[in-house]
Structures are given as C-alpha cells and as structure tokens.
C-alpha cells in the first residue's frame, strides 16, 4: 500500500521534472523546425523593459519566426551574475553591458562583433557611445541608451518655501563666499519641529526633510563632484588616480554634507540601499535630488507634487558631468546567433529604438530616435533640456577598463566607510585607490 503511494509519487515527480519543466519557457532548447525561435534579452531597467515589451511586440509582428523574451535582473546583482552566466554559456542571447565588463567579455571572444556584423548601422549611433564601447578598433554592442548629462531634480514647493533658486547653485571646497549651495541645502533641510539646518537648535536626529542626496553614488554624485573640482578618477591607461587633492576636497565636501551639515541622509541608509534617496525624493522628503535620465520616469510616475529639473550643481571649474551609455551585446556562442543578430539590428534601428524614447523610459543612443524622448517629455510638460548641452558641456570620463568590476568591488567597502565618516577622507581614498589598482592588476 505504502509502496504503491511511493511509486506513484516517484512517477509523478519524474514526470513533472522531465516534462513539466519550469513554468517559464525554457530558453536553452534549440529551435525546433516549426515554431518560432525564442531569443532572450537581459537588462536591468524596469522602465526600459516596459518599453522593450512594446518594441518587441512590433518586432515579432514583422518577424513571425522569432519571439523575444525579456529577463530583468536587478542591477545590484547584475554584474555578479553576468560573468558567471557568460562563462557557463547560460547567458541570454542579447544582454546589456556597461563599461565595467564589456572589455573582459570582448577580449575573451564572448561578444558578437557588432562593428562588423551591423556595420551599416554604426553611423546612426550616438558618437560618444560608439567611442565608449569601441575596443580593438571595433564596436562590441548596439548602443541601447545614453544617460545624457546629470541634472538636478527639485521639489518646487520646498525650494519656493526656502527661497532657493535651484538653477544657480555652486559648491566650493574652500571659499565659503563662493559656496551658494551649502547655505541653500541647509535651508532646505528640516527637523520634525520644523527647524531648518541653519538654525542653532536644529536636531539632526529627527530630520523629516533632507536638502540633498549626497552619498556613495558614482554616476550622480561623486564622479561629478570630483570632475567639477578639476579632479580625475582614472588616467588615460585606466589606472586609478583619485587620491589627489582635488578629489579629496570633493569627497571631504560630500562627507561634510552628510555628517557635519546633516543636509543629506546618513550613509547607513544610502550605502546599503542605492535607491534610498530617490525614494525619499519621490515621497516628498527630499528637496534636491541630483540624478540622470534613468530616474526621470520613476520620478514622473511616482511624485505626487510639483517638481522641476535644473542644471547639475556647479563646482569651481563649472558643471562637469559623467556621461554614460549602455550597450546591448550579443552572445557570440548563442545557438540562435542569427536570430539574436536580427534582434540587435532592430534595437539599433530608428524604429526599434524609438519605443525606448517614446515611452520616456530612457534616451535612446540611436541619434534619429532621440527626438521621440524629447517629444514624450515635452508632451508631459517636463523640460529635459538640462540633460543635454544646455546643462553644460564639460565631462569627466566614464569608468573604463576590462576589470573595472573587480576594482569597484574592492573600492566599495572603503567608500562606504568614507561616507559614513568612519575613516578620514585622505587615507581612505589612498586605501581605496591602492585596493582598486591591486584588483585590476
């Protein structure tokens, strides 16, 4: 009796395992003679994923022999997971890569040579993106989006109440008279009793409204502060050189915003949760939020108050922004390489890339498709010009080097401590720089 149950269970289990499979359609199976080929696309951005759904619906209509499935992997795990999946061949046919890994992948022959296979499309891509992802004189992916310049989101009611003009804020590491930003941030920070951070009895332990989002945020904060103080992060051959006086001043200023002036959330919150400040801003608990186009849709959909976009905060040498692009790369060893190439071609075409802009999800890196992005936001009454040249023209080079990922992993814990104020900025930067350089050797 018992055994019959057991036998039944075994049979059921094996049947389930062999035939039932995962409720998600298996991606590894080679295309059958009939039925469409499934190409999978991996990315980290939910907003763009929504736009891709529409884009690929159109693609599938035109290419009935291919279905496209999206695989959204959280950004925080994305670059831990990706090398493992690339090496074991279990990566998706098309996947997003940023600067941190594409070099290593390209060098080990894992990526489809887009510069060769889709040569006719290359002139249509944003030149900065092509330049960022060209290695060994060819392009290693279809530029999927470009983040544009960093800008400053602000809560209109809050800046009006504090009488701050967000369009004209300048920070300065040594000259208080030239520093218009810190006094503004102080007036924009409030405790639970309504006192602002420039009042003597302000209680930093009960802050209900933060002035600014200083924290360990590479793209939106510290690269730009270093750049706008005339500092560098990496030199031409990708070595880390951020233990320099300009960078030290910039970091010291940022750490001061958090731990001395108390105008930014504690590092304990922002170190462990990269979205903490964005969520605070969206919930109406932060006045100024410096970020990029990648948060535009989140803010536009989430904020229940009047907000605006100003140019990024200027430093002693002006407004210096990091400008980053992302590529969609093809998996060279994919059994569906030809189908994957057709998907890449679609993403690199004006029609395919248009959806990303038309949904307002991100700024496409296909030049002809960019207008859709501006049109979308214009129609929603959002002024996006400060993400472009009107927000400044100076840039600091984006992270680069085939082993940037390893360096970042080595730097991150030390930066956490710097922002938490637990190690001094100077020795901390030196330690982080040594660790980063050791990691890329």
């Amino acid at each position: 009796m018992k055994i019959t149950h057991l036998a039944a269970a075994v049979t059921a289990a094996i049947a389930l395992a062999v035939t039932g499979c995962s409720p998600v359609a298996p991606a590894d199976e080679p295309a059958q003679g009939d039925g469409p080929t499934t190409v999978t696309v991996r990315l980290w951005d939910q907003q763009v994923a929504a736009a891709y759904e529409k884009s690929f619906a159109e693609f599938e209509r035109r290419n009935p022999d291919i279905t496209v499935k999206l695989n959204v992997v959280p950004y925080s795990n994305y670059f831990t997971q990706l090398p493992l999946d690339v090496s074991s061949g279990t990566v998706d046919d098309v996947f997003w890569v940023n600067t941190t890994y594409f070099g290593a992948f390209a060098d080990s022959g894992r990526l489809i040579d887009v510069g060769k296979e889709l040569a006719d499309l290359v002139p249509g891509f944003v030149p900065a993106a092509v330049e960022q992802y060209t290695r060994n004189s060819t392009l290693w992916g279809v530029p999927a989006l470009t983040d544009g310049r960093i800008a400053l989101y602000y809560n209109k009611a809050m800046v009006a109440e504090a009488d701050v003009d967000p369009n004209n804020l300048t920070w300065h590491p040594t000259d208080p008279a030239a520093d218009t930003f810190l006094p503004a941030a102080r007036r924009l920070t409030k405790d639970s009793a309504g006192r602002t951070a420039d009042q003597p009895d302000f209680d930093p332990k009960s802050i209900v409204q933060y002035g600014f989002n200083a924290g360990r945020d590479l793209q939106a904060i510290y690269y730009n502060f270093v750049g706008s103080n005339g500092g560098r992060f990496q030199d031409e051959d990708d070595a880390f050189v951020f233990a320099n006086p300009q960078a030290e001043q910039a970091f010291t200023y940022l750490v001061g915003l958090i731990n001395t002036a108390h105008v930014a959330p504690p590092a304990a919150d922002t170190n462990s949760n990269g979205d903490f400040s964005r969520d605070q801003f969206i919930q109406g608990k932060m006045a100024l939020f410096q970020s990029g186009t990648y948060n535009l849709k989140n803010i536009a959909d989430g904020a229940r108050f009047e907000w605006g976009i100003a140019p990024m905060i200027a430093g002693p040498v002006g407004r210096v922004s990091v400008v980053n692009s992302v590529i969609a790369a093809g998996h060279e060893a994919s059994p569906r390489r030809e189908a994957a190439l057709r998907v890449l071609r679609w993403l690199g075409s004006q029609e395919g890339a248009r959806f990303v802009g038309a949904e307002g999800a991100a700024l496409p890196a296909v030049t002809a498709a960019q207008q859709a992005f501006y049109d979308y936001w214009h129609s929603r009454g959002v002024d996006t010009r400060f993400f472009g040249p009107e927000g400044g023209t100076l840039t600091i080079p984006a992270p680069s080097g085939p082993k940037y990922g390893a360096a970042d992993a080595a730097m991150e814990p030390i930066f956490n401590e710097i922002f938490a104020g637990r190690i001094a900025v100077g020795p901390g930067l030196q330690e982080a720089q040594d660790a980063a350089n050791a990691a890329v050797r």
Binding site: L6, D85, D275
Partner: protein
C-alpha cells in the same frame, strides 16, 4: 511569605517569561505580515508600525503578476518533491545494505560515509559549481537536484541505526516466505520505520525548501529561480519597498509554517529523535 504564595508567584513569573519569549518570537512574523498587507503609500506616510488601513492584497497581487513569483514557488516545489523521493528511496536502500547485509568492503565504505558527514557545504560548493558548469548543466533542473538526489550520508547513518534495531526474526520470516530484498524492504522494513521516515521526510523538505547558496550559484535567470533566490533578488532590487518585500518573505516561510503546524507533534518528536539517534 507562604509556600503557596511563593509557588503561585513562581508560576506567574514562568508564564510571564514564556509569554515574553513567545511574543519576541512571533513579533517579527506578525510585523511582516501586517506590513505586507499595508499599501506602499500608507507605509511611506506612516512608517513601519502602522496598522494596515485599508487592508490590501495588492502587494501579493504584484508579487505574482509583476514580479513573477509563481515560477519560484512551482520550481521550489518540484525540486523539493524530486529530492524528497530520491533521498528517501536511495537512503533506505543504502541503509538497509549497511545495516542488514554482509558484504566485503562494508565497514570501509561506511567509514567513508561517516567521514563525508564532516565536509561542509562551503567546501563543496565551488568544485560542484565548476563540475556542473563543465558538463553544461548550469541553470538546469538537474543541477538543482542532482547533488542531493542520491541520498545523504546523514540519512543513511540515521536509518542504519534504526534498521539495526528491527528484530531479525521479522526479516528472516519474510525471507522464509520467499520474499526478495525489495519485498522485504517494502513489506517489513518500511512499515516498521514509519516514524523515522516521517522525520527524514520533514527534515528533507525543510532543508531543501530553505536551500539558498547552491541555487544562488547554479541557476541564472527566472527559469529555475527558487523561492529563496527570488526573495533575495526582490530585496536587492526593491530595497526600500518593504511592503512587497515582506509579502515575499511571508510567502517564502508560510508553506513551511503551515506544514509545521499540521505536523508539529511529529516534528517536535522527530527533531529530538534524530538528535539522540
């Protein structure tokens, strides 16, 4: 103070202490269930200790629709089921051979089994990863179950001790009736070992429902994502969205809690049995 009063006070104090312990144990569960029933807007506005008003199932609905939590639940159930059956069957086989059969090499082999009990998971995870990857099994169902499918030395050890206690006459009588080994296992050994097999089944289900590290490294993407990996991923992606995250954790622990409450007498007894082997 009279002795009666003192013992009454003692009883009261014991009750209070136990009550405090129970409250401390339950509070995190209750808090996360309450939060999972709160709307994100209310949570943002009123903080973590507010009573859900109105009670909403939206977080769970989101979990299943937007975050595709159906797959992890199904995959985890499949993995647990297959491992459960494999472990029970193969461990019974092996334990019976060690306990009741004489064959050359028995003691040496059993010693090897005992020795492998000492090998920690942290040691085998890296070589297993490279082995699975080398044979192209990464991110397959088999990669999830194979390392555990053939029984565990621990289960063999446990069952062997138990099988040795089965009276020899029972088995001899069956053999005289012309039963082969499989029929002896089926009609004699398994029926008299129901409690220990239940125990093993419970331990296996709990262990593999909760398994995290191996699925984390050996799977990629949504196809074979198990519930612990899905929960960890959700937490890191929606860091501050505690209403959805607590819905996920609630979902991850609820099936085992229900299982436990149904079988709690069995489980409580069996945990101590296995401890005192």
């Amino acid at each position: 103070m009279t002795a009666v009063l003192r013992s009454r006070l003692g009883v009261l104090a014991s009750h209070l202490a136990l009550l405090a312990g129970a409250a401390l144990t339950l509070a995190p569960f209750l808090l996360s269930v309450l939060t999972s029933l709160t709307s994100p807007q209310q949570f943002a506005a009123e903080g973590p200790l507010s009573w859900p008003d109105p009670v909403t199932g939206a977080n769970y609905a989101q979990l299943f629709t937007r975050y595709e939590f159906v797959t992890p639940v199904v995959v985890t159930a499949q993995v647990v089921l297959v491992i459960l059956v494999g472990q029970l069957v193969f461990s019974v086989f092996a334990a019976y051979a060690f306990a009741r059969l004489e064959f050359p090499g028995r003691d040496a082999l059993f010693w090897v089994y005992l020795a492998t009990l000492m090998v920690p998971q942290a040691v085998t995870i890296i070589p297993l990863y490279s082995m699975m990857t080398a044979v192209g099994l990464r991110n397959t169902f088999w990669a999830l179950v194979l390392p555990y499918l053939f029984g565990s030395p621990y289960a063999v050890f446990l069952l062997r001790e138990h099988f040795r206690g089965i009276p020899g006459e029972l088995i001899d009588a069956a053999r005289l009736d012309g039963c082969g080994t499989l029929r002896i296992l089926r009609h004699v050994v398994v029926p008299v070992s129901k409690p220990i097999l239940t125990t093993l089944a419970v331990i296996t289900v709990v262990t593999h429902w909760n398994n995290f590290l191996w699925p984390l490294v050996i799977t990629a993407g949504p196809q074979w994502r198990v519930i612990t990996v899905a929960t960890a991923g959700l937490q890191s992606q929606y860091n501050g969205n505690w209403t959805v995250v607590t819905a996920a954790t609630t979902l991850a622990v609820a099936p085992l809690l229900v299982l436990f409450l149904v079988f709690q007498r069995n489980v409580v007894r069996s945990i101590t049995i296995t401890g005192f082997r």
